[in-house]
């Protein structure tokens, strides 16, 4: 069945691509079918179990099965995949290279599910690479900055992938098996050097995809350069594959190591720095895509920290954030896509005042932003709360302050995002803008509402997370860290989410009604041109919205940080390597005589060193 599902995906991808060549509508239809049909089959038929399908290639057993942990991640992939596929139909209408978009989209979904069902390293790696290159096609789909952004993405992905490849061949040579379970169970049998080397290599591999600090520089460009319909998958689901790998490595490998706690602390701090630095960079962005891209990196930093700390509460928080981040970031990217579709730009400095034009987009963005900022009663708060409690109880005081700083600074870009698109003055230039079509707004609203529901009833998700964590060897958390919708920490502190929600709703309704119904009769809407501007009447074309250098005061405060970009060091390294390559290339002078000399010298050298070579 599983093989069939993957084959349907693969065949569907190719058929969609071909169908798109014949007739755009046929392509759309095939696309929907080839995402939704296998996705539904996956959800309906694939139950958690160790071995579901098995193949042998090249004498290597490829074993497929769904672990509870993978099941949790597969929910994200399938959910986002289906939502985004519906969204993409409208989003991609009238754009170029739609066929390739559909093709890569389906393949990435397939690859992600493939990664999750892989029970051995080889199929894991194969699907990992398929995911990489299919997402690579997406990154460069718009044909802008292909050689810089695309290559950067691919080089970093390759760095990660090849680290993984190296680790897995070493595992195989030492343990004689490519199975994930064998690796984890027999980890102690590795030599001490390899016990350090393999987790480090795998951490690099997964760190690249989950954009951990020094390996993150591909991410902002890659996220913002792909089509928005896909970026949601990119940031919501694809990066989570890195997290999935990190969970496996950290929980199943480093716990068996004496030096493991050190590795974990380092990773946790890297996650913390990622969260803080990415947040600061997000604040400086003037493009919604870039802002969300950096924000995604920041959120992944929280997740990585949670996973690395690895106490039950931290793990619960990280896993919860995995799902919730997919929801709200998916919704936000969809919103940006809708704005791009309707206005043609995503620059904060160009668009403003869309709140009345695109109300549904605004509402879903608002909910998602509240979730992102971690404000109760939305789901972002649940994971933040658990993460902070876990960190404090695990004695990571400074780390918690760092993360707190990051999440406070996140309000800045959260506001910048909402203000940039939806608030501010309404301009005649955007007067014609209409709400995005239903097929775009409904998925984003659905995701945002799910975030809302999970914010008060997180137990809907906790059950899955709980079984995933038990699979990883944790005790059951139900009743210890949460009961129904009440969260506990190990110290006995708690937050009861339902009373919070009811209190908020009650007060909110009271004052909203008070303000609205009391004032409604007498109050009328005036345009945003009618503001108190020292008695001046702004002209139609005058846009008074505060846009340029939006966060300048803050940017000035963090200027010493902004000056130091990691990317610069990479660029310097790249330049150096290029110079070295160029120097090396000149060995081939193009001169026959030189080549003859090389031959003679080579012969002479071999003759001279023959003793040391052949004894």
């Amino acid at each position: 069945m599983l093989t069939l599902i993957l084959v349907i995906f693969l065949g569907g991808a190719i058929l969609t691509w071909l169908g798109r060549k014949i007739n755009p509508l046929l392509g759309d239809l095939l696309f929907l079918v080839s995402v939704i049909l296998p996705a539904t089959m996956f959800v309906m038929n694939i139950k958690v179990g160790d071995t579901i399908a098995q193949h042998t290639l090249l004498g290597i057993d490829l074993v497929w099965g769904l672990s509870p942990l993978a099941h949790l991640f597969s929910l994200v992939v399938v959910g986002l995949g289906v939502m985004l596929s519906i969204y993409s139909i409208s989003y991609m209408r009238g754009k170029e290279k739609v066929g390739m978009y559909y093709f890569s989209f389906i393949l990435s979904i397939m690859a992600m599910l493939g990664i999750l069902v892989s029970r051995d390293w080889i199929s894991f790696f194969i699907f990992w690479e398929i995911m990489t290159w299919s997402s690579y096609l997406m990154v460069i789909l718009n044909g802008k900055k292909v050689q810089s952004i695309g290559i950067k993405y691919f080089v970093f992905s390759a760095l990660g992938a090849y680290s993984m490849l190296m680790a897995l061949v070493i595992i195989n040579s030492q343990l004689g098996s490519f199975m994930l379970s064998d690796t984890f169970n027999n980890f102690q049998h590795l030599s001490p050097a390899n016990q350090i080397l393999i987790p480090v290599l795998l951490l690099v591999a997964f760190g690249v995809k989950s954009a951990v600090m020094p390996l993150h520089i591909w991410a902002p460009d890659a996220y913002s350069n792909s089509p928005m319909g896909y970026t949601a998958v990119f940031s919501g689901a694809l990066s989570k594959m890195g997290v999935y790998g990190l969970v496996l490595v950290i929980i199943s490998m480093t716990t068996q190591l004496p030096a493991g706690s050190l590795i974990r602390i380092i990773v946790a701090w890297l996650g913390g720095f990622t969260a803080a630095a990415a947040t600061l960079w997000a604040i400086t962005q003037d493009d919604g895509k870039k802002l969300l891209a950096w924000s995604s990196i920041g959120q992944l930093g929280y997740i990585v920290t949670g996973v690395a700390i690895g106490t039950p509460l931290a793990m619960l928080a990280a896993m919860f954030l995995v799902v919730v981040h997919a929801l709200f970031k998916g919704s936000l990217f969809m919103a940006v896509g809708a704005i791009e579709k309707q206005t043609g730009t995503t620059d904060f400095k160009e668009v403003n005042g869309l709140i009345r034009k695109m109300p549904v987009t605004f509402i879903s963005s608002l909910l998602s932003i509240i979730a992102l900022a971690g404000i109760p009663p939305l789901a972002g708060f649940v994971s933040k709360w658990m993460l902070y409690e876990a960190l404090i109880q695990n004695h990571n005081y400074l780390l918690v302050v760092l993360l707190f700083f990051a999440s406070t600074a996140a309000f800045l870009y959260a506001y910048k995002f909402l203000h940039g698109y939806f608030l501010g003055q309404e301009e005649p230039e955007w007067a014609h803008v209409k709400e995005a079509p239903m097929s775009m707004t409904i998925p984003m609203l659905l995701l945002a509402l799910t975030t809302f529901v999970l914010g008060t009833w997180p137990q809907l998700l906790f059950n899955s997370i709980d079984s995933a964590m038990q699979y990883l060897g944790y005790d059951a958390t139900n009743g210890k860290l949460w009961t129904d919708s009440v969260l506990f920490s190990q110290w006995g502190d708690k937050v009861a989410l339902q009373p919070v929600l009811y209190a908020i709703i009650a007060v909110f309704l009271f004052f909203a009604i008070f303000l609205y119904f009391k004032g409604r009769k007498a109050t009328r809407y005036v345009t945003t041109k009618d503001i108190s501007t020292s008695g001046e009447i702004p002209k139609e074309w005058e846009n008074l919205t505060f846009k340029v250098n939006f966060m300048q005061p803050f940017e000035r405060a963090i200027e010493p940080f902004l000056k130091r970009q990691i990317e610069k060091y990479y660029l310097g390294f790249g330049k150096g390597m290029e110079a070295l390559f160029d120097f090396t290339r000149r060995i081939y002078t193009g001169n026959g005589q030189t080549y003859a000399i090389y031959a003679i010298v080579f012969l002479a050298l071999l003759l001279i060193f023959r003793v040391s070579l052949f004894g």
């Binding site: 691919f154 080089v155 090849y162 490849l165 080397l197 390559f581 026959g592 031959a599 052949f614």
Partner: protein
């Protein structure tokens, strides 16, 4: 049995001589006859492979003299595998170049096919022969036709490239002769099996020197750094199919010779380390040079050299898995690199200088060719689920089993470089705006078929690698089983 191994050498040689005669009768036969010959040989190769799989190696004795005195041909799983590969590549090259350029006149076409037949003759001879001097002869046949093919376009650059090739080649021939002379003077025999069985009698110093001479001589043809200076020029200046033939046929044959010397004939313990060292050098320097190229074919040439380096490292591992990986890489390279050369030369068909930048935006104009090129690029850098991945994986597994952690790291680092330059080209094809006014060239029908076949094989190996691994495994076993080889040759009797 449809025939005997000697036909692999005799028939193409005969065809090479007959082509001009037949051409006098019917001009089109110049193009058709080589195809018929190669098709027959293909059938022969396949049937012989089947025979070998069941009945063990075929030792054919030429002219009635039993080994070690006479010349013999050995068709076992290993040589059979390579011969099949060579014939198959020859067939594809023929099909592709059947009307590679519609405007090619009768005269150049005649020369071309004669030379191609000679090339096939020489290469199969190199692989099949069991005699060292015979090997030298076949190497010369191969090289000389390769020189001529390099200069096929009769331009200044082609001539220069060819001349460099000739120069290096003649240097190689000299050394080869000296090496053969040394062996003969010491052991008094040139039959490979015989030499292998007596090699311990040889003076160690002379043994080392003769091995070194063999390495240098064969290294020139097998594109080992620093002996491969001719290669980029030759690849770049020769016609597209010739480049493919070099990558798919000549280099394979020469590498075979090198491996035969290392594994079977000589028993030098340091030889494997030497292979690894020169292999790594070749790999690193070729890939690093490739990234800085601005001409497409030149880039492919360097990439080709790099792959050869990788094969050599794989052979240098010295285990059965290593040989398996090496053969697998060779097979993949023999399929993917021609695909790249074929499709690539159509992509830059109208361009004078064949710059990489001339293929900007070709994806729109020539979607099929571009797609195949991309497929080839994806496959050769080892992205799953395409063919190149499995060979790379088997190589890495073999290397890891021998604890070559640093070498693995180095090779993977080089792979990143490889990815960069291939992806840069693929990006240009699909995601760049067309800047030059050059139009795309529609591939001929034959070329379509050839490229599709190659593409399908790439996918097939990618998804079902086990279709080919059986043969490769048998080939690896047969190469590894040195005593079996010696025994089977020396006990062969005239049938």
């Amino acid at each position: 049995m449809v025939g005997t191994p000697v036909l692999f050498i005799a028939i193409p040689l005969l065809a090479a001589f007959l082509i001009p005669l037949l051409g006098m009768i019917w001009k089109e036969s110049v193009r058709i006859v080589p195809g018929l010959v190669l098709m027959y040989l293909m059938v022969l190769a396949v049937s012989l492979m089947g025979h070998v799989a069941h009945n063990g190696p075929i030792i054919e004795i030429i002219a009635g003299w039993a080994p070690p005195i006479g010349i013999n041909l050995v068709f076992n799983a290993f040589t059979g595998f390579l011969v099949t590969l060579i014939i198959f590549m020859g067939l594809l090259v023929w099909l592709y170049s059947y009307r590679f350029k519609s405007n090619v006149e009768y005269e150049p076409a005649r020369k071309y096919f004669i030379l191609l037949m000679m090339l096939v003759t020489g290469s199969t001879g190199v692989v099949l022969t069991g005699d060292i001097f015979n090997l030298f002869v076949f190497i010369e046949i191969t090289s000389i036709s390769a020189y001529a093919l390099t200069a096929f376009y009769t331009g200044r650059d082609s001539a220069e490239a060819s001349f460099k090739y000739v120069m290096m080649g003649s240097l190689a021939s000299t050394m080869l002769l000296i090496a053969i002379m040394l062996i003969y003077s010491q052991l008094g025999t040139l039959n490979m099996a015989d030499v292998a069985s007596k090699i311990h009698l040889m003076d160690p110093t002379l043994k080392a020197i003769s091995f070194i001479l063999f390495v240098v001589a064969l290294g020139v043809e097998a594109e080992i750094f620093p002996l491969n200076g001719w290669a980029p020029d030759a690849y770049a200046e020769a016609p597209g199919p010739v480049g493919a033939a070099f990558a798919g046929i000549v280099v394979k044959a020469m590498l075979y010779a090198l491996i035969r010397f290392t594994y079977t004939i000589f028993d030098l313990s340091g030889a494997f380390n030497l292979l690894i060292i020169i292999g790594l050098l070749t790999l690193v320097i070729a890939e690093v040079a490739a990234i800085r190229q601005d001409k497409l074919k030149r880039m492919l040439a360097y990439s080709s050299i790099g792959q050869m380096g990788l094969v050599m490292v794989a052979f240098g591992i010295g285990t059965r898995e290593g040989v398996f990986a090496a053969l697998f890489i060779m097979l993949n390279h023999a399929i993917i690199k021609p695909l790249l050369f074929f499709s690539g030369s159509y992509l830059v068909y109208h361009s004078k200088k064949k710059y990489i930048s001339d293929i900007d935006g070709m994806g729109k104009l020539a979607p099929f060719t571009s797609l195949l090129f991309a497929l080839g690029a994806f496959a050769i850098v080892g992205l799953p689920p395409f063919a190149g991945f499995w060979s790379k994986l088997s190589f890495l597994v073999a290397a890891a089993d021998n604890d070559m952690v640093l070498i693995i790291a180095l090779i993977l680092a080089v792979s990143i470089v490889e990815i960069v330059y291939y992806m840069r080209v693929v990006n240009r094809i699909f995601f760049f705006k067309r800047t030059t006014g050059l139009l795309a060239r529609r591939p001929t029908f034959n070329a379509y078929i050839v490229m599709s076949v190659l593409g399908i094989i790439v996918l097939m190996i990618g998804f079902f690698p086990d279709t080919v691994t059986g043969y490769i495994q048998a080939a690896a076993d047969s190469l590894f089983d040195k005593t079996q080889y010696i025994h089977s040759v020396l006990t062969a009797s005239i049938q």
